[in-house]
């Protein structure tokens, strides 16, 4: 639309003012007696009304006129500012926005005269109070008692009445309950999407600083940015050329360098806006939402002045709003629920933004119920996004991240608030598009700090010009039958760079170890997986004659890994140029740049590279198969911790439900045992140090805050109190020495050091055995199981698991022991991996089946061994049941179905053990 300069100004200014109004009115609602605020709001509306009149926009003028009058009444203290009134004024603001949009689009206000709204405004102004105000509580609109004055023609009254008769019912306020937003929608011709759009229209109100400002077209700024980018490239070229030139030109080159850097910085700053610009919309959004769902929600902000590039601001608007809406809709509970939980009735959403090392971090936290991983898993299984078996073995982190899968939405009903098919997957995609990352996690309540959930967004500060490290890669290429050595250059964004390592000679080589075919480098005690850039990119390497190894240590998504390259050059500021459509799909490149010598270098996408190199899981599917493969390889993921006088203890991570930290003040004592109130259940605490070293003083419990490893099964939990949780390691387990001390399975080499393996089963037995109330309140029909395996670790692990499921467990490592135990005890099921010290699975089967007395004993084996056992058995026997080795739930179910114990069980969900 062609406009005169004045109209354009009017539109821009008015939209700005409306943005300001939104915030002020929401503030005013909290402080209704604040005279300055009232005066400010009044002034703003007055201004809009005035300019509307000037341009002849009658609809706008008449609406704002009444609104202004109402506010005048408030200012003169003729009436208090009630929430209903506030809602009415906000409605007015939205309508004004709509009309302004019409004007911008079509040059005219549009057909709608918004009679409904006018009526309401008029009623309010004239104190047709009782009916209209209480009706507002119910969300109803009310017939005008007498013909509307002031703003509408007399003959419009019948029309008005007819409208009302259609849309609403006028009596029985209790029955008919119109939701506030839909009443709003009824009264406006604008469609839902229009209204939504208006609400999301940018308004730079918060940007005007105290000093003088000037409005600049964004396209002009973009153009400036591009030019500066080119200038940086040219400067790089000159710098490259002058390294060996005369003093004079190199002096000029230096100056050029400085000036270019400053210019670049300056132009980038022009495009920076404080994130508060986006945040300022949110109080209104939260207010409206809270109203609609009947909750009380407050929003707080920290770091609103943190600046971001305009393109980033545009990109995160949608995601931020969606996340906040989610918190309102699903995260924060209703006031009554909150109070029942001992929380404050009103929930809080906290927005935080801060710079950190080339990134901007944005956190959206709420003190609500947190995200229930079980619910997420169920929904995912229902929607066919994952299989039930996967759900069963998933860790909490993985479960929460199911939310990011396309097609997921936990809304029970799709509300028009957060469930419009805009899921977290879209949020993730949009953020990753600008090079950022999203994460979410639950925060358990600790001490006085409330729990809830947090979404964390990390975005690189600038898109176009980044500092990067130049690395070289040599490879061979065959052209015309001739092998040619080529040197390619790649750029690694500084933001992903942790450090550079150079290993020389034999000494250096020694620091590289090989685990299961993967090379790792021991970096300050931790193992760093290595990957060769040449291999990842599929380039045939050159035979190395020197034995120097250059490792670039990179970080991607919380994982560190080392990239082996042939050479490391310097760090430069490079201009990121996007790759063409054909190459955009390649996940290993972020873009390309032109080097000083005019040659092109590809910019590596570190997370993409990590995924390609299989260091980062590409998807849950991948990580599932990896995990189950590694179990077959006899590698275990172990949790390393210290307790008492044992500085290195491990327990299989798969057993662990959560790692928690509690204030020791929360510990209570029930029947002499320390317990904690944990997730609506009682968590009995066991101090590992004290258990292993009976008689020594219990130092762990004396601390201010306790480190607890929580083991869960259904809704029964046990917490092991330890001194310090150190690390998580993945190792092929080799037990050197079996232990006969209580509480220990044995010791082995983990991470190159002697480490003790705790006997979880024995510890739990000792702990809960003494206090039956704390754990076995859900008594199950117990089966009697014999675990037969030559590996002590395997036995111990299975035993612990089965005992937690309430079964009675015996152990045996040789066939003789098995038969001995079977003859003396009423064992119902024998579980074997088929690897006894002196017999195969087949021989075991033969032995058991060959004895009449043991006819009722069922034998369970692992799926991989079934075939072997069958072929080894002379009698041609096979197992009564077979499960996958890492399918513990399946094992329990199989046992129970074999023993008929399933019949006696209560309907507790066995699906809820959150294990990896």
């Amino acid at each position: 639309m062609e406009f005169s300069e004045e109209v354009r100004e009017f539109l821009i200014e008015s939209n700005e003012n409306l943005g300001v109004l939104d915030c002020e009115i929401v503030e005013l609602e909290k402080r209704p007696a604040d005279e300055q605020l009232i005066a400010s709001v009044f002034r703003t509306i007055h201004t809009i009304k005035g300019t509307c009149g000037f341009f002849g926009f009658e609809i706008l003028g008449s609406i704002t006129h009444v609104a202004e009058n109402i506010l005048g009444q408030v200012r003169e203290k003729q009436r208090p500012l009630t929430p209903d009134l506030v809602s009415l004024v906000l409605q007015t603001v939205d309508v004004v926005r709509l009309v302004l949009a019409n004007i911008e689009e079509r040059g005219e206000e549009g057909e709608d005269v918004y009679q409904d709204l006018r009526q309401k405004l008029d009623d309010a102004y004239n104190f047709r109070s009782d009916s209209s105000q209480s009706a507002f509580d119910q969300g109803l609109t009310v017939l005008a008692a007498h013909p509307p004055q002031d703003i509408s023609e007399p003959d419009e009254a019948p029309l008005a009445i007819a409208e009302y008769a259609e849309g609403t019912s006028t009596q029985d306020a209790e029955e008919e309950h119109l939701e506030w937003p839909s009443a709003f929608e009824v009264s406006n011709a604008g469609t839902e999407s229009e209204v939504k759009e208006i609400r999301e229209t940018a308004s730079n109100s918060a940007n005007s600083a105290a000093g003088s400002t000037i409005r600049v077209d964004v396209t002009l700024l973009d153009k400036l940015m591009n030019l500066v980018g080119e200038l940086v490239l040219a400067r790089n070229q000159i710098l490259q050329g002058t390294t060996s030139q005369s003093c004079a030109s190199s002096g000029a080159a230096q100056r050029l360098n400085l000036i270019t850097s400053e210019l670049q910085e300056g132009v980038m700053r022009t495009r920076m806006q404080p994130i508060g610009v986006v945040w300022n919309k949110l109080p209104r959004v939260v207010r409206d939402l809270a109203f609609e769902v009947g909750k009380q929600i407050e929003i707080q902000m920290e770091g609103a002045e943190t600046e971001l590039d305009k393109t980033i601001i545009e990109a995160i608007k949608g995601p931020l709003t969606h996340i906040v809406r989610n918190s309102c809709d699903h995260g924060i509970e209703r006031p009554d629920v909150r109070v029942a939980k001992g929380k404050k009735a009103h929930g809080t959403i906290l927005l935080r933004a801060y710079h950190e090392g080339g990134h901007v971090n944005i956190e959206i936290s709420d003190d609500g119920a947190g995200i229930d991983p079980e619910r997420v898993k169920r929904k995912a299984v229902e929607k066919g996004l994952i299989r039930a078996e996967q759900a069963a073995t998933m860790s909490e982190w993985e479960a929460l991240h199911l939310i990011f899968l396309p097609g997921f939405s936990t809304a029970e009903k799709v509300t028009n608030i957060s469930g419009r098919g805009v899921g977290m997957d879209v949020v993730k995609t949009n953020i990753e598009k600008i090079g950022g990352a999203v994460d979410l996690f639950n925060r358990p309540g600790i001490g006085g700090i409330a729990g809830g959930s947090t979404v964390k967004i990390k975005i690189p500060l600038t898109l176009a010009i980044i500092p990067g490290l130049i690395v070289n890669l040599n490879s061979t290429r065959t052209t015309g039958g001739v092998k040619v050595k080529r040197e390619d250059r790649f750029v690694i964004p500084q933001a992903n760079l942790l450090e550079l390592v150079r290993l020389e000679g034999a000494e250096g080589r020694k620091q590289i170890e090989s685990i299961q075919g993967t090379e790792v480098y021991r970096r300050r005690g931790k193992l760093l997986p290595l990957t060769y850039l040449s291999r990842v990119l599929g380039l045939p390497p050159v035979e190395q004659d020197n034995d120097v190894l250059n490792i670039v240590v990179l970080q991607a998504e919380e994982t560190a890994f080392g990239l082996v390259v042939d050479g490391v050059s310097d760090t430069q500021e490079i201009v990121v140029k996007a790759l063409g459509k054909q190459l955009k799909a390649l996940s290993c490149y972020v873009g390309a740049t032109i080097m000083g010598d005019g040659k092109i270098a590809l910019i590596l996408d570190v997370p993409g590279l990590g995924r390609l190199a299989n260091i980062l899981p590409r998807s849950l599917e991948r990580s599932r198969t990896k995990a189950s493969e590694s179990v077959k390889d006899q590698r275990q993921t172990l949790l390393l911790f210290s307790a008492g006088r044992f500085s290195r203890l491990v327990v299989p991570l798969s057993m662990v439900a959560r790692l928690e930290e509690f204030a020791s003040s929360k510990v209570q004592y029930a029947a002499g045992q320390p317990v904690l109130h944990y997730r609506d259940a009682i968590l009995p605490l066991v101090s590992v140090g004290a258990m292993l070293d009976r008689g020594s003083p219990d130092a762990a419990m004396e601390r201010d805050s306790l480190q607890v490893i929580v083991f869960s099964e259904g809704n029964r939990h046990v917490g092991l109190v330890v001194d310090e949780i150190q690390d998580i390691v993945e190792e092929a387990v080799t037990v050197k020495r079996a232990s006969s001390s209580f509480g220990l399975l044995g010791s082995g080499v983990v991470g190159g050091k002697i480490t003790d393996f705790i006997d979880l089963g024995a510890l739990l037995q000792a702990a809960i055995g003494d206090h039956p109330d704390s754990f076995s309140s859900h008594v199950r029909v117990a089966s009697s199981v014999l675990v037969a395996d030559s590996s002590r670790i395997a036995r111990g692990t299975l035993r612990a698991y089965l005992e937690m499921s309430g079964h009675q467990v015996f152990e045996a490592s040789t066939l003789e022991e098995v038969l001995d135990l079977l003859s003396r005890n009423p064992v119902q099921v024998v579980v074997t991996a088929g690897l006894l010290a002196d017999a195969t699975g087949g021989e075991l089967l033969d032995a058991i089946r060959g004895r009449d007395k043991l006819a009722s004993v069922a034998v369970l084996g692992f799926a991989e061994e079934d075939g072997n056992a069958q072929s080894a058995s002379r009698r041609g026997e096979h197992f009564d049941g077979a499960v996958n080795r890492d399918d513990r739930e399946g094992l329990v179910r199989a046992i129970e179905s074999l023993t008929g114990a399933a019949a006696g069980r209560s309907r507790e969900s066995a699906m809820t053990g959150s294990r990896k």
């Binding site: 080119e230 052209t479 390619d488 599929g538 140029k577 032109i594």
Partner: protein, 155 residues
């Protein structure tokens, strides 16, 4: 542009094509689609890119994707340092693309009436990528369908 589209069959109506040679085929694209014609340009290869993408070219500060037309047409690559391809730079919606061809020939004014249907014995792959044929004195001129070529190259 499609052959047989309603164009007034005036006598002497012609269209301009930039022509080139790929293998033993004589091909052309509409001149309006062509940005520039260049000699061989040094390219930076892109590991893991689709096979048809030969590399990236620095075109006065712009990064241009170079597409090997031979590969797209299913022809074997010329594995020799002597015969370097030439560049025809076109603008596509995904950015500038340079088509690598064996040799760039003249710009021709082709009379529309020389349009002829696609030969029966044309292999399927070629059929997909050619949008028209002209019968000239020197032989057949195959007109390349740029969009399809670009789509195919992505795989």
């Amino acid at each position: 542009m499609t052959i047989g589209s309603p164009v007034p069959a005036q006598l002497g109506a012609t269209r301009q094509y930039s022509t080139f040679r790929v293998g033993d085929m004589f091909m052309g694209i509409e001149l309006t689609q062509v940005q520039e014609l260049l000699r061989y340009q040094e390219m930076t290869r892109v590991p893991l890119a689709p096979r048809a993408i030969e590399g990236l070219i620095n075109l006065r500060g712009q990064i241009v994707t170079a597409l090997d037309v031979r590969r797209v047409l299913g022809l074997p690559a010329i594995d020799s340092e002597d015969k370097l391809p030439m560049n025809i730079v076109i603008q596509s919606e995904g950015g500038k693309v340079s088509l690598l061809v064996d040799e760039i020939c003249d710009v021709l004014d082709v009379p529309l009436e020389a349009a002829t249907p696609l030969p029966e014995n044309m292999p399927a792959l070629l059929r997909e990528l050619i949008e028209g044929v002209y019968q000239l004195e020197s032989g057949l001129l195959l007109i390349l369908n740029i969009d399809r070529v670009l789509d195919t190259s992505a795989n």
